[in-house]
Symmetry: C2
Subunit: 404 residues, 2 copies
């Protein structure tokens, strides 16, 4: 029998407890032995909850119990999660976590300890919630040079953008509704400013390069400036605005960023709506593959965590993960070549010459019911070239990148 | 250094050779040691081809060479592949195959030998070409009771249906073009009659139930009866006709079938076009996930085979696969409840009473330019109930199932 301790009885923690109970037979069969939650650690008490009889408040009980072979960390945040996880690994216990902040900040160190101790540090649920992506990256996409990963990695913002698109809502209304439905936190910055997606693309990029990507060096722009008016322009062009986290090989380097992008109908992420996530991967021999599913939510995330527990119990030795404690030097995003959508105040006819002088060939966009301003789309140019030109534009309101 | 032998230098075999050469550094890094193709077995000679220097015609050279630790079988067909694979496994060599006929026919026996010998029998490329699905089923979707798998598992027929939809082609024209492009064989029955998809859904269903599914017991209907007229009706209803292989939990049993289904726009497989494949999986806690990519083609399939080689080299011990040599009793598909689309000769107005008497509530469909016949869609009913009623229908032309 494999005995497991769960750190944190919040949304995901209670989901883990529930998934193991609900699917006990399947979990046992796949793990090759019975899996039992012996402890749940939380500062709070839960009188009347079935978890009560296994609840502990002191991590040392778990750390010092030699029966515990797997620790599930679903507390979130770097501390005290890091201290707990590190000491569990040092004590020879495998750790399964959904904590992207921890993985993005301390991944290589924790992976190295697990390797040394011949156990596992697994983090399937840290990216894409229930979508299998970490293990496929490690064990399936191993014959390819990965050319790019682009993902809708944050369900909250994807829900908000879907509602703005479908209902014509402004950002504030979408955020309020997302908060009422429990999709967005009261402090929604991690989601709407792109930091959640940024940590996730840092993890994925580290995995396919084998080097550590410092998420703080990834250019990150959220959706808080996206307005109902921007969406009207996108609709007029047959495009959708999505918050995309991506990393791409350009020449011999890699560029990574998070930003709103306007996608056309042929783009594989165009149809990913509501709280769903999807990760598009392109390999040099494999071509395109896409993984789609519930990117968040109690049970889907818990399902991924429990699949890690099954893997840890079943494997009983270290599964090699190549993620060295050596920083990957990201290339500047200025080298990316794409088209840009720009909003300008004034009338298209009056400004035509100035725009042509600055940007060369452009296509003007003018949706019904938008006055005193217009939009245009540039030809292909590099980000740095665009930035130079954009500076010269009088009356510029804002710009949004187009994805080919 | 890991030495590999490749059985068969056809499309996939030459792809495997090319992928290992092209991505040698990545393959070595992920495998943890250098991977070298020492032999390629084929009856033919390939003068001037780089493979010439490793080409052998006698399988015993491979079998008796203790340096060979991994055998790649990409010959196709059950024999002589089965004899070669079995003897390689018995000799302690891991086997990686793309051969769905072999896996569907002999899976449990070969898995059992690999387990006994503490090596691996891997078959990622046998379903979905380059799409990672076998390993995710085995190592990611392990915390869930799988409620259904539905897939577009055959790229040739999906290409044909896409062309019939986009260009208004008849079946014969679509088939001819698919053959000219090399997507369809000269004898296209395995694709167009659904047998290829049938073997693949049998493999996936065996993996999630842990029991053996006899593919011959799966109801299988291909696309050869689908006409440009059927597609016109589907378009009129906003639906697409796709060849879907599925298995679903109904009560305490499982139903599996392959047939054309009419999908609505909200269905996750609706947008999967051309030669692409996709597999939709629903878990009881995970909810929906979908895997999408190139379901066939030399390099994508070879990429999946080489990822198996990497896994075999890296793992060096048996990875447990639960697929017992005990048949799963499939339930009769008569229990599936759905709507049905029916074409009838005559005029809707004249036949209204008869149809109402037989089927109760229906919705009539009458696309422009189709004369002397009409279509209608039934309410929800079980397959067996529908079959009883359909028998009574005078002037029935054909029916196609609707997926909710």
């Amino acid at each position: 029998m494999a005995k497991v301790a769960v750190l944190g009885y919040g949304t995901v923690g209670s989901g883990v407890y529930e998934v193991i109970k609900t699917n006990q037979d399947i979990v046992n069969k796949n793990a090759g032995e019975e899996v039992e939650v012996k402890y749940v650690l939380d500062l709070r008490d839960f009188p009347g909850d079935p978890v009560e009889k296994v609840l502990v408040h002191d991590f040392d009980i778990i750390l010092n119990d030699p029966e515990i072979s797997v620790v599930v960390e679903v507390m979130g945040g770097v501390e005290p999660a890091y201290t707990f996880v590190k000491s569990a690994l040092m004590a020879g216990k495998s750790v399964c976590t959904s904590n992207k902040a921890l993985v993005a900040a301390k991944g290589p160190e924790l992976i190295a300890i697990a390797k040394e101790k011949n156990i596992n540090f697994l983090f399937e649920a840290s990216v894409g919630g229930g979508i299998p992506i970490i293990r496929p990256m490690n064990s399936c996409l191993t014959a390819d040079k990965i050319l790019q990963i682009s993902g809708i990695l944050n369900g909250t913002t994807n829900y908000m953008l879907t509602k703005m698109e479908d209902e014509g809502w402004e950002f504030d209304e979408a955020l309020k509704t997302a908060q009422e439905l429990g999709y967005a936190e009261r402090n929604p910055e991690a989601d709407v400013d792109g930091w959640d997606a940024c940590r996730k693309i840092a993890i994925l990029t580290s995995l396919y390069t084998g080097l550590n990507v410092d998420y703080e060096k990834i250019y990150t722009e959220g959706i808080s400036k996206i307005s109902a008016t921007d969406i009207k322009y996108a609709k007029k062009m047959g495009l959708k605005i999505k918050l995309i986290a991506y990393s791409k090989r350009i020449g011999d380097g890699i560029v990574s960023a998070v930003s709103p992008l306007m996608l056309n109908k042929a783009h594989p992420l165009y149809n990913v709506s509501d709280v769903f996530n999807a990760i598009y991967v392109e390999g040099n021999v494999l071509g395109p593959v896409m993984f789609y599913g519930s990117g968040a939510g109690k049970l889907p995330t818990a399902s991924a965590v429990v699949s890690d527990v099954v893997e840890a119990v079943k494997t009983k030795k270290n599964i090699e993960v190549v993620w060295e404690d050596k920083d990957l030097e990201l290339k500047d995003k200025g080298e990316i070549v794409r088209r840009f959508f720009v909003r300008v105040s004034g009338e298209a006819a009056a400004e035509e010459k100035m725009i042509k002088d600055i940007f060369g060939k452009t296509e003007v966009v003018k949706p019904e019911g938008i006055n005193n301003e217009f939009g245009f789309v540039t030809d292909q140019m590099s980000e740095s070239d665009f930035a130079q030109r954009y500076k010269k534009l009088e009356g510029a309101i804002r710009f949004i990148r187009l994805e080919q």
